[in-house]
């Protein structure tokens, strides 16, 4: 038996074991939709195009397995699905892409802090980096579309909080912020604790509104962010 045939047999076994009922016609449809799309698609979008009653999550799982060892893989990014070339084939495809703007050291660090600590305020970022942030840093990250203002902290001054966006997850191939690399270690070491560390709560980076966070309302009159204390004012 050739090695290709062996590969296929493995896939077959997986499919038999896990998704004995995957409807081959539905499988073809999901395959076609995901192949054709330029953007990741979520279960809901796929469901609207498929016949009623199609088991989209099951189909996706089957497809993920079928493509697992192939040159193209089915990836889950930002909770949506997209076919992407296998990462081990990057050498074949890597494009010499002049990175439009090489991100500054400050911007890269700020992005990581926002990703791991979200929701996070400007003052908290500054505390971690030990330096005042230049205005441009946040602007650049917002312009690229990797971060967004997500809410306001329920503390004096109601500073805005930052978080990462869906394009950020898509760009870095993350299923969700909970899948950030090394998140667990950072959490275990206590580096993601509230700032200053209270020693009690260990916030996870989360897209959900935090307990002390209000949703962002762009119409709310802007206040100086950071350290303005209403009680003192």
């Amino acid at each position: 038996m050739s090695s290709v045939a062996k590969m296929i047999e493995t896939i077959e076994d997986q499919m038999e074991a896990q998704s004995p009922e995957a409807n081959p016609e539905h499988l073809r449809m999901v395959e076609a939709l995901l192949f054709a799309a330029s953007e990741p698609l979520d279960v809901k979008a796929l469901s609207t195009s498929l016949p009623e009653g199609a088991d989209v999550p099951g189909l996706l799982q089957t497809l993920e397995e079928i493509y697992e060892t192939r040159g193209v893989n089915l990836c889950c990014v930002a909770g949506k699905y997209q076919f992407r070339t296998a990462s081990d084939l990057a050498f074949l495809l890597r494009k010499e892409q002049p990175e439009q703007k090489r991100l500054s050291k400050a911007a890269i660090e700020t992005l990581a802090i926002i990703a791991y600590h979200q929701p996070v305020t400007r003052a908290e970022i500054e505390d971690i980096r030990g330096v005042a942030m230049s205005k441009g840093t946040i602007d650049i990250l917002m312009e690229i579309g990797w971060i967004k203002i997500r809410g306001r902290k329920r503390t004096p001054g109601r500073p805005v909080t930052y978080g990462t966006t869906e394009p950020f997850l898509v760009q870095f191939g993350l299923e969700s912020v909970a899948h950030l690399p090394g998140l667990d270690e950072l959490k275990a070491a206590g580096f993601l604790e509230a700032i200053p560390p209270s020693g009690f709560d260990v916030p996870n980076p989360s897209d959900e509104l935090a307990a002390d966070e209000d949703p962002y309302d762009p119409n709310e009159p802007e206040m100086a962010t950071g350290s303005v204390n209403l009680d003192e004012a």
């Binding site: 992407r84 990462s87 400050a106 992005l111 990581a112 802090i113 030990g130 330096v131 005042a132 870095f172």
Partner: protein, 276 residues
């Protein structure tokens, strides 16, 4: 010392070793005092968790001194940190005092500083890992030639029965020369029209006929009559000049008579006959 740069090439250090092992500094390369402290800590080549804060404080203060000697301009926060570290250093050297009125002890302050350095270090490592991930369109690629979703226009028409009937009525009326589209005409009978009419009537009028009896029926009243009379008279005069009609008038303002120009001239007495 130069190996720091290799460890962390993303954050290229500007701390360089010169011949006498003193720090040669350019402050521009640091992302603030904590970054400088972290770089110095790395130079101690021990686990940051076990770093000697006292030694670190000394190195920092030395750095600031060197910068002053070299007339390098240091940002205010470097100086604030220097002052704080000098204070911490003095408290670390002094015998341990009892923690009083809630103020943190020197050890607690040192621990807190160490923790902040560790955290910064950890976040930097995390950012390196993050940036090192397979990135879309750099390492992994989506469909190069995505197939566009064809938008099918579902056309519906707003036309109603009203539109249909309006179209029918106007179209048909127009074709039949109906009034709907006839431009408003001034109440004037064109001379050409009057002449054409006269020419057509010539064969039919018997002998002398009063001009006013030859006016078109619908032009026999009001302003239209005046126009018709004037035009018909002018047309008759033109035709008389061409020899097509003969005209007769007994006296000024009297009725004008007309007859076919082909007829032989009448005897004078006949002239007044119709009016007589």
């Amino acid at each position: 010392m130069t190996d720091t740069a290799e460890n962390f090439d993303e954050f290229e250090s500007t701390v360089l070793a010169n011949d006498d092992e003193a720090l040669l500094i350019t402050v521009d390369g640091f992302e603030g005092p904590l970054d400088l402290l972290l770089t110095l800590a790395r130079n101690q080549k021990v686990d940051i968790a076990k770093i000697s804060i006292l030694k670190l404080a000394e190195q920092y203060l030395e750095f600031v001194e060197t910068a002053k000697k070299l007339n390098l301009e240091l940002a205010a926060d470097y100086l604030v940190m220097a002052a704080w570290l000098a204070y911490l250093k003095s408290r670390l050297i002094l015998p341990q005092e009892k923690g009083s009125d809630g103020e943190p002890t020197a050890d607690e302050m040192a621990t807190r500083l160490r923790w902040r350095l560790q955290r910064l270090d950890a976040m930097r490592a995390a950012s390196t890992r993050l940036m090192g991930r397979e990135r879309l369109d750099r390492d992994v690629f989506g469909r190069g030639d995505p197939e566009a979703v064809n938008v099918i226009k579902l056309r519906t028409y707003k036309d109603t029965l009203y539109d249909l009937l309006t179209a029918y009525a106007t179209d048909r009326v127009r074709k039949l020369g109906g009034k709907s589209y006839r431009p408003q005409m001034a109440p004037v009978l064109a001379i050409e029209e009057a002449r054409e009419r006269l020419e057509r009537m010539l064969g039919k009028i018997s002998d002398w006929s009063a001009l006013t009896t030859l006016l078109p029926f619908e032009w026999s009243g009001g302003a239209r009559r005046r126009s018709a009379v004037a035009s018909t008279l002018l047309a008759a005069l033109e035709m008389a000049r061409d020899g097509k009609v003969q005209l007769q008038q007994a006296s000024p303002f009297a009725e004008i008579y007309v007859r076919d120009g082909q007829r032989a001239p009448d005897l004078p007495h006949e002239a007044s006959a119709p009016g007589a």
